[in-house]
Amino acid sequence: MEILERLVQAVQDGEAEEAVALAQEAMAAKMEPLAVVDALTEGIREVGDRFERMEIFLPEMMLAAQAMQKTLELLSPYLEGQKERREEKGTVVIGTVEGDIHEIGKNIVALLLEVNGFTVYDLGPDVNALDFIKRAQEVKADIIGASALMTTTMPGQGEIIELLRDMGLRDHFHVTVGGTPVTQEWAEEIGADSWAENATKAVAILERAMKERRGHARATL
């Protein structure tokens, strides 16, 4: 089996040590770092798809993500100078809204976004609406992701959008909402930009949104 194939397999299997060793081997063999990252990204996307089909479970996906992160850390110095050639997916500030302590759904989305190349700032649970915005401004985020698991905390998602409007910042961020009781109808009612019914779809929707956003930005320049 080729080094790259074995590396992708090791990451998918969550074998971090083996993956790091294979990545070192790949770099020693002067393989193109960007090609390695692209193969790993494709591999981890497959892990997400398998999780969605319940062929694997969250522990396996988390171990794969951990292996991916450790491998990317090793590859990072080799990517210096090539970053402009690598597609920047976007920066996301994510959290569960104020008064809501549920995290698992948000954590899965954050994990999948991160391993798919987004830069993710996870603010954790029980996050005040203004704190989402302040952090998004601070890190120059493209996307604000707000999760709510309770019907009585869902208004917190709407508050973020209301505050953005009142602060004159609505167009600065793509706001995506999710969580078990959250529906497309609710997302439309509060004026969110997107909603996804699960983590894999969230990644695809936000990738598309970022492409459109960039296209729009270029068109208006």
């Binding site: 522990p59 698992i104 208004p155």
Partner: protein, 461 residues
Amino acid sequence: MPAPPYKMWEILERARTGPFCEDEPFIMERFMPQLKAVIRKYGIEYDPATPVPSDDHLADALWRAGLEFFLEVGVLCVDTHRIITFEEGEVKEALYLVPGEYLVGSGKDARLLKHRPVEDTNPPFVIFSPDITCDEELFSPLSIAYLKEPLADGVCAPILEESMGLKIKAQTPTELAGSIEHAMSLRQAAKLVGRPGIFLVAAGTAESDIAQISISHSDWGVRTSDSRLVGALTELKIDNALLNKVAHYQQFGCFAGSLTGPIYGGYAGRAEGTAILQVAYHLMGLLVHQAHYQMNFPFHIHYTSNSSRELLWVISASHQAIARNSKLISFSNGFLNAGPATEMVLYEAAAHALASTVSGANLWEAAVAHNKYKNRATPLEARMAAEVGHACAHMNLTREGANELVQKIVAKYEERVADAPLGSLFSECYDVAKAVPRKEYLDLYARVKDDLIEMGLEFPY
């Protein structure tokens, strides 16, 4: 025998003084590896051919695995980053002190809530609960409809999203208002239907600790003969707000229920891990929640339901483990895929009730339509579960017999779990003013019941 609390202040103090641990290492380095280790050590294995297993060795191995896992992992307080840990002797002492029964509710409506053994011939205690949110104007009719159900031993009302037309937001004055409206309206509804002392679990609208504390009142609010719930964070975690509820329930003097829902496909992984976590959550409920009973709803991470084959196994196996090795009182909460007025939801309710009742659980029925849609639940789904639960006890059904029936019932819907029909709204299925079901749904109900009789189920009436 005394009821909880058991060493409450000594245990709660551990949330401040226990070993330091952050969230991620708690799951990645403690929870997941320990769970994997006990699955292997005790040889726990899910068998899709037996959603209702009859293997006592499996049940006892699950109990030992759950106990060992709980002792090794403990419960993380995410506010203090400290792990609440236990000695085995403490767990055994607390289990020894469990009385196994409580008189709940009051006056003529009081009922005995009891621990049930596996294959118990006494019917389950059934709490009727829509488990969903509703429009403000539907709160009373929905509550009355559930309270009217003859087999309801207790009732838990729907959750309000608005109060006085204002959107309720947790931890704000609107939540306090909504919680008071919930408690008062439910109390009034119980009185109107002639069951003023029925065991009420309230108030689901009160998500926060302050809202729960605001409705403790022996006249208009939650009484000491009633109950309320305290939850956990995913998985085996808690925070100070939840601990506030724990302390308040004991000090106020009402019955406390431990509300936990291990996620199949989540950190616990497959059916084996989810079942072990169920056992551990029962111990957490006794020792951290200081609960008089456990109310649990293991659910599928994608579908938010527990009527599929693997989840029925989790429910059955874990309840057998608990029933055989403790006197804990446990409720099995049905989470169904389809919505009201569909054949599928009634079959799902029947399968959930059978797997739970024969395994030693009481029933809490039912969250329907993936527990996601407002106004989309009716008492008839709960009635089907209750009738099937009573039938199971009435006909002295064995686990083998229940397994055969569950196999037949599950075959009716398991292909449609992912795209289950959403069904109808309460207002479409019921005459709202009278709070009674419409003929169409009653006819459908009768057809499904006839089919269950055809399959071999013997209803008491």
